[in-house]
């Protein structure tokens, strides 16, 4: 009898010891992002946002008394590598998977996370990602299917444009936006006067702009990255195009204003997530980020930050660290900035993992971003 008793006592001690260690052990997160290759800016901003948020949460005592811990893996902006790294991350059974940022890499990794039953909070913006019925995938920003209708509505209602030239960058981000907005234009009977695909990193837009000039549209919709936005704005000004220039997030960013100078004046656009938003919490975030990393983050930095606060709010709502229940708890959940300041703006997550949040229509006036209109959440 005695040895059995001793053994069970020992076992009990070990088990409780393990249980205590469990509740105090850090919560493990895994991030797979584009830290090198074509998406390095995207992934690095995303990673820095994550690190900043974790640092802040841990300094305030963590989530449910446990610290957060994250591992970063580089996908080299390559879907094949992203798949390997996500596989590796999932083998280590993280609480939640973060990333990737490229839609293609999300597409190849989402089924793996779903199979493992682990929630994946990612940065991809392609419309189709959340429409495949994956119950474990969550966005950190508007998908193009929710931002483009707002832009098209503005072009139709406010600008009363009947024909529009579209300039887009030929990667999955640009093409997705171009396809979404073309669909919206068709609904309003707006004619696409010119459909111009450009390359990422393109330096000379003279030919594209002269095509726009020849097509003589009522407005130009520009959907390219920040650097290219600045270049095309300069060229549009040089060739004397005066019709309204409309964009989505990238066209009216602070970086564009800095690079394009005067040429940026008059550019307007819809902004879902920007560090220039007229929201005190976002300004505070931006200051913290600049203090730590010495540069102004783009929206990917915000997305990484938000992902961590989504995890914090959801976990606190559940009252426990439950990887399997996480996705269910986040579906239909509204995180308010009043209760969780880290979320910056009230956000609701629907059954598909799409995010609903305020948006802004802004215009560049004398080198400053001016909010013309605040677009409310779709469902209040």
């Amino acid at each position: 009898m005695k040895p059995v008793f001793l053994a069970s006592a020992l076992l009990a001690t070990v088990l409780t010891g393990a249980a205590i260690a469990q509740s105090g052990a850090p919560i493990k997160l895994a991030n797979v992002a584009e830290l090198s290759g074509g998406g390095a800016t995207v992934g690095t901003n995303w990673k820095n946002g994550i690190d900043l948020a974790i640092e802040e949460i841990n300094s305030k005592g963590g989530v449910l008394g446990r610290k957060l811990e994250v591992t970063h893996a580089d996908s080299q902006s390559n879907p094949g590598v992203a798949r390997a790294q996500v596989q590796k991350a999932l083998d280590a059974e993280p609480y939640v998977l973060l990333g990737p940022g490229y839609s293609g890499s999300v597409k190849v990794t989402a089924p793996l996370a779903a199979e493992a039953g682990i929630a994946q909070i990612m940065g991809g913006e392609a419309a189709e990602l959340t429409q495949a019925g994956n119950k474990f995938l969550f966005r950190t920003s508007f998908g193009q299917q929710s931002s483009m209708p707002k832009v098209a509505k503005y072009i139709n209602d406010e600008l009363k444009a009947k024909s529009v030239a579209i300039v887009w960058v030929n990667n999955d981000f640009g093409k997705g936006g171009r396809d979404s907005i073309s669909k919206e234009f068709a609904k309003y009977n707006i004619k696409v006067a010119a459909d111009l695909s450009t390359e990422a990193g393109q330096a000379d837009f003279a030919a594209d702009v002269s095509k726009i000039k020849a097509a003589a549209p009522d407005a130009v919709f520009v959907y390219v990255n920040e650097e290219e936005s600045a270049r095309i704005l300069k060229e549009l000004k040089r060739q004397g195009i005066t019709v309204p220039l409309v964009g989505e997030t990238t066209l009216v960013g602070q970086k564009v204003v800095e690079l394009a100078g005067d040429a940026a004046n008059g550019a307007r656009g819809h902004v879902g997530l920007t560090t220039d938003a007229p929201v005190e919490l976002i300004k505070a975030f931006r200051d913290k980020f600049v203090k730590k990393y010495n540069y102004v983050p783009d929206h990917n930095g915000l997305k990484g930050w938000l992902a961590i606060y989504m995890i914090k709010a959801t976990t606190e709502k559940m009252g426990k660290v439950d990887s399997k229940g996480f996705a269910d708890a986040l579906h239909g959940f509204t995180i308010t900035a009043a209760k969780e300041p880290g979320i910056l703006m009230d956000a609701t997550f629907d059954a598909n993992g799409d995010i609903d949040r305020q948006g802004f229509l802004v215009e560049i006036v004398e080198g400053k971003q001016v909010v013309k209109q605040v677009l409310p959440k779709l469902n209040n």
């Binding site: 893996a73 080299q76 902006s77 089924p111």
Partner: protein
């Protein structure tokens, strides 16, 4: 057979057995990386034929992997079997490789590199812009993994065996090829094309053949790549893959049969091992490759080759010395 030969065969059997048995305990990540190694080795073997044996610089091997991958993706997601896609990919890549070989008849070395580089860019543009066929920049997702002899290979381990088995078959075929008159003709072509021509080797046909066979192997690798990642988009088949493959061949040892195996191991596995250094892993990897090529421009197998031939020279000179001594002793 000599003892050395037995040793070689024994070593080979141990390696093959290890490749079959050890991964049984691997997690999904390890299996994925090993499968990737097998696939990249096949592509690099193709390039080794073109570059290492026939001496034709090609920067288009990545494009052929892409053509194979897209063939597999398009056909299998339309319900056709992978083995059919394999056939189509081989024929397609062989034909395109043959045509691409024509410039090689007129230009050499870096000029040929430019021609193949242009082809590589062209292939990327076709993958990206021909939406109706390739689904453009969005890529093709949910590529099914095949069923072999009634066994599904959806799980990582069975699919690893598919990749390993394919590597085995390709290795045997290439082994045979480089020992056949064709292989010797390829080497003659590399060493001295004028002399090869004067010896009656149809250099024109063999140049085209080297390109076509090398490209077809790129296609084989591609047909495995698509079901491995289960997603293809144009970006991975850009110039960087061709450069990677070129590096694998040169680092492993261009013109050595086992060069691509080692080269692919370095290109696929070394960055993974170095990942613990976080942000520095690609830098360290690059430095390691640069140092290796400074130390031995002929790659890893070049070092081995040098070592063996030095030993042979030493042994031979020792024998010579003995023989000479004997000669001098006997009157």
């Amino acid at each position: 057979m000599t003892a050395a030969k037995y040793l070689k065969i024994g070593f080979g059997i141990v390696v093959i057995a290890a490749l079959i048995i050890v991964p049984m305990n691997f997690n999904r990540y390890g299996l994925f990386i090993l499968s990737q190694w097998a696939v990249m080795t096949i592509a690099a073997m193709g390039l080794n034929l073109t570059l290492g044996y026939a001496g034709q610089v090609s920067l288009a091997q990545g494009a052929f992997v892409g053509i194979g991958a897209y063939t597999a993706a398009i056909m299998t997601s339309n319900g056709l079997p992978l083995i059919g896609a394999l056939g189509v990919a081989i024929v397609l890549c062989f034909a395109i490789g043959w045509i691409l070989g024509y410039p090689a008849l007129r230009v050499q070395h870096h000029y040929l590199a430019f021609v193949t580089l242009a082809f590589s860019t062209l292939a990327f543009l076709v993958f990206r812009n021909e939406d109706w066929l390739t689904k453009g920049i969005y890529g093709i997702s949910n590529i099914p993994r095949p069923e072999l002899f009634g066994y599904p290979t959806r799980r990582p381990l069975p699919f690893y065996y598919v990749c390993l088995g394919s590597l085995g078959i390709v290795s045997l075929a290439v082994w045979w090829l480089i020992r056949s008159p064709w292989g010797r003709a390829f080497i003659a072509l590399r060493e001295n094309p004028v002399r090869a021509l004067s010896l009656g080797i149809d250099t024109r046909r063999y140049t085209l053949m080297a390109f076509a066979i090398g490209s077809a192997l790129g296609g084989v690798a591609g047909t495995l790549y698509a079901p491995l990642t289960q997603y293809v988009d144009p970006v991975p088949f850009h110039l960087s893959l061709s450069l990677d493959l070129l590096m694998m061949v040169i680092v492993g040892g261009s013109g050595f049969f086992f060069g691509p195996f080692l080269g692919a191991m370095i290109a696929v596995l070394l960055p993974e091992w170095l990942r613990f250094t976080q942000g520095y892993y690609l830098m360290l990897y690059a430095i390691a490759v640069i140092l290796l090529l400074i130390y031995s421009p002929t790659g890893i197998l070049g070092i081995l080759d040098r070592f063996i031939s030095e030993r042979r020279t030493k042994a031979a000179s020792a024998q010579r010395a003995v023989a000479k001594a004997k000669l001098e002793v006997t009157p």
